[in-house]
Symmetry: C2
Amino acid sequence: MATFTVDEFKKRLDQTKKSMEAKGIDVLLVTDPANMNYLTGYDAWSFYVHQLLIVIGDEEEPIWVGRGIDAAAAEHTTWLNHDNILPYSDDHVQSTTKHPMDFVSRILDEKGQANKAIGAEFDAYYFTAKNYLQLTKNLPNATFKDATGLVNWIRIIKSDKEIELIKRAANIVTKTMYKGIERIEAGVRENDVIADIYHTQITGTDEYGGDYTSIVPLLPSGDQTDACHLTWTDDKFKNGDPVILELAGAHQRYHSPLARTLVIGKPTPEMEELADVVIEGIEAALDVIKPGITAEEVELAWRQSIQKRGYEKESRIGYSTGLNYPPDWGEHTASLRPGDQTILKPNMVFHMIPGIWLDAYGIEISETFRVTEDGCEVLADVERKLFIK
Amino acid sequence: MATFTVDEFKKRLDQTKKSMEAKGIDVLLVTDPANMNYLTGYDAWSFYVHQLLIVIGDEEEPIWVGRGIDAAAAEHTTWLNHDNILPYSDDHVQSTTKHPMDFVSRILDEKGQANKAIGAEFDAYYFTAKNYLQLTKNLPNATFKDATGLVNWIRIIKSDKEIELIKRAANIVTKTMYKGIERIEAGVRENDVIADIYHTQITGTDEYGGDYTSIVPLLPSGDQTDACHLTWTDDKFKNGDPVILELAGAHQRYHSPLARTLVIGKPTPEMEELADVVIEGIEAALDVIKPGITAEEVELAWRQSIQKRGYEKESRIGYSTGLNYPPDWGEHTASLRPGDQTILKPNMVFHMIPGIWLDAYGIEISETFRVTEDGCEVLADVERKLFIK
């Protein structure tokens, strides 16, 4: 552990308990791996089996529940006392006879919480329908409440220490993006470029190493640039191909994502225009950012800018980011889109990624920024342009 | 697409429909990304938003449902007709006002399925409690049934084409494991070794490239080898450290996992003995494998072997593997453990990973094998020993 002080973890826990109280939740089950890390430091690739934290409003420490062979990881990485690390036996794993939520139900019962208001992250990736059904069956006297996003919304404002980690991630993504752009050329296999991207991402710098990113590098090229979440193949790049690179740097699970588009050979006038429109739009949006503005007002600045040029885009143009685990580096709180009235505050961090996809190709150019006391700070340092190779 | 023929996809779909019929399921919602890929070829890093297939028993093709900006990926990677690719609008994404399951419910209603028996993968990673609650609220006349594992159990026997992809993955993991072992030494940062591991994994061979693996390389070292799912840090390896390497090769989403343990410097006699015990146990288990034996009998051969040497291990020693997406390369079907009476058949593929963890360190040595007509075939080609650097 040791990245954050126990005091910082306890402050996060206090905020969580305040939010629980405001929502009438006595006990919170925290399944989102980023939220588990945020409250305790827990860090291991063990979220492929059921695991969670039990936060009881009137008990000092959360309880970690997970698979037996992962208890050692909880001892190594969290600030929790040994007595609050409660592993279940291995015959609960992917079994049709025993479910880990039976074990969780017994703990809640033993702790006198079986008739309380229990909050759970109903729409978090790893809180399955089966978890819900098993808990509600085992604890018929409890009231279950949807607590999706409760801890995420506390995460939205970063501490200075968290910002430091995100800036390290930004330095890594700067190096990585330039490496990717340098290596892409006609005749080179896509996977060979990705191999060098990974190498740069994980090597990091001389002072600090890179962590795995919660989304793998995305690299659609040619006529597949209309499909933004394709990964890569072992096909070779071709002359004339547009290529979209979306990737992040990560350090100790904190992310700084970035996208750029390049063309191998000569871009068409349409591509050049589309890139201009996207860059102008990003700059218009970055210009309006300061504490007090809402998320939807940032999107409006973008939209008005591209409308002047005759373009429209339906999807959101950005989201809060930072600490995360696969499959997403987005925080699932504020989005830069119409209707989102989140007020921006200092030390919020967003990935603004306003791609425009036409029928035959797309352009993605993005920035990750921190809201400062009087504006915003773009974190990576990669030229904002359509790259031409 | 084009890795598999449309005929192979249709055969898989037929098997799925037969299994649905046997279980009294009229409509199946398929959320597990590996199952979505298995039935349609769909391949994109888009499972961080809600997406699924609707398989209607008496309709020829499945329906793909996902986010608007991912419809292009469905067009590129699946065999489905354009009319069966149904994207929802972007304001459903991580929103508190609209949920993608509302969109799914409307489709089911329009297709006349609102009063049918609907199967869903209740315990799959991406089928959240919220999905269940939203669907059951919207479709009060439907009967919901747990269909966890329905498609997974069809995946357990691989076609020859699938075995070919897994063997490619095995060639990649052989190269990658040797690269990792070569690079580990005292004074080298863990992340620098991982950077080279990724590079080798993704480069693949001259004939075919590597894909991302569903679990990142795991590299606990020193006193952290008791915690098998730790990833890596930027600390330097130290003389005397035991190091566990668990990683996979992947090709077109098919995996071949492998683990080895090494010691930097001189192993203690206890480590050497523990490695011997594990290797003997693996060999005893591999020896008994042939079609007709059960999963639990394979584990029994391991257990009897280590018991002779005075050791016990609680957790399962292996699981079916192949096609997958994060966070797991395990298939969630058969496990090599007591009580699992799955009968082994030709072209099943398992990762046998019988680690033993003591208080201060652990030894993991594993093999991925294919069940053949009369025995088994180990897929990677890495010496089975405790490596010493």
